[in-house]
């Protein structure tokens, strides 16, 4: 593969990630509070959403300032205390909203990518 192709591919992935990352982070907290390293590990394991780990902390900080998540410190059996992130009611509402619109969005993009689009102009 040409180096240029992989750069373009990375750009497409980065653009997509930028839009959905915060909702994936919120989704990770849906069932229980999580601490930062745990969240990053889950993103890493997903492959597509893996990102430079340090960039997730400014995102978490904004989610906290926007009242979508709250944080609490909890002691750990190993190592330092962890800061746990949990959804607030408005965080849950934002996640529900995203969950509602996502299938339609995904299907629309799939349709654009797979269906041939004949030109509709008067090209007679």
């Amino acid at each position: 593969m040409e180096p240029g192709d992989s750069t373009k591919q990375a750009r497409a992935a980065a653009q997509l990630r930028k839009g959905v990352l915060e909702y994936c982070v919120l989704a990770l907290m849906r069932d229980r509070p999580r601490y930062g390293v745990e969240l990053l590990q889950a993103l890493e394991d997903s492959g597509a959403l893996a990102t430079s780990q340090g960039t997730v902390y400014p995102l978490l900080s904004r989610l906290r300032r926007d009242d979508l998540v709250t944080t609490t410190w909890q002691e750990s059996v190993s190592g330092p205390p962890r800061r746990y992130y949990a959804l607030t009611d408005s965080g849950r509402a934002a996640l529900d909203e995203f969950t509602r619109v996502w299938p339609g969005f995904r299907n629309a993009v799939d349709a654009f990518l797979t269906t041939p689009h004949p030109s509709t102009g008067d090209l007679v």
Partner: protein, 200 residues
């Protein structure tokens, strides 16, 4: 040869330098988050080297750039890239100021005899200023501001206006006192809620 502590310190000071355009509290928070991450990761993966952990965290410049973008989204209009050293000037008043201006004037006006129209005029002016300060403050989100203005300014004003229409208010001092009490409770409740949900 650099020690592990040196590597971490160099890394964090690189982030600090790259993030110099961030407000100080945001920068400190970012540094605290990153150093916590490093400590926790090392505790969980004792075999990982500091260099690995820092490489996974990523380029300090990228992290700082992300932090600036995230911080820029809410300070609408505040220049982030150019002239980023200057902090946003608007909304720097203490969060108590708009809350007290919205609530206290009504309380004072309710205590004073109602024929002092100057007191009522000043009360109204102060409450309008309070509402403006609330709306321009950085301590609340747009939704919280709207809810606050509706509950603490619009609703009482509409209720009082309807009350003052001829033939609406029941006669006697009792109902008037009750209405005043309800309004004070509404204002105090709204102010308490705003105080609780404010962000530092």
């Amino acid at each position: 040869m650099k020690t592990s502590a040196d590597l971490v310190r160099d890394y964090l000071s690189a982030v600090e330098r790259e993030a110099s355009a961030l407000p100080a509290d945001r920068r400190q928070e970012l540094l605290a988050d990153l150093s916590e991450h490093i400590e926790v990761t090392l505790a969980e993966r004792p075999k990982a080297s500091i260099a690995e952990v820092l490489a996974e965290l990523g380029d300090p410049r990228t992290i700082a750039a992300t932090a600036l973008v995230e911080a820029g989204g809410e300070a609408a209009g505040a220049p982030v890239r150019s002239d980023a050293g200057a902090p946003a000037r608007r909304g720097k008043v203490h969060p108590l100021v708009p809350l007290l201006m919205l609530t206290l004037p009504f309380l004072v006006a309710a205590i004073l005899p109602d024929d002092i129209s100057a007191a009522e005029f000043f009360s109204t002016v102060l409450r309008v200023i309070g509402a403006i300060l609330l709306c321009t403050s950085v301590h609340w989100t747009a939704v919280q501001k709207t809810t606050g203005v509706l509950l603490a300014a619009v609703l009482p004003t509409v209720a009082i206006s309807i009350w003052l229409l001829p033939g609406v208010a029941p006669s006697g001092a009792g109902p008037a006192h009750l209405a005043n009490l309800l309004t004070v409770a509404l204002l105090a409740g709204t102010a308490a809620w705003l105080w609780r949900v404010r962000r530092a």
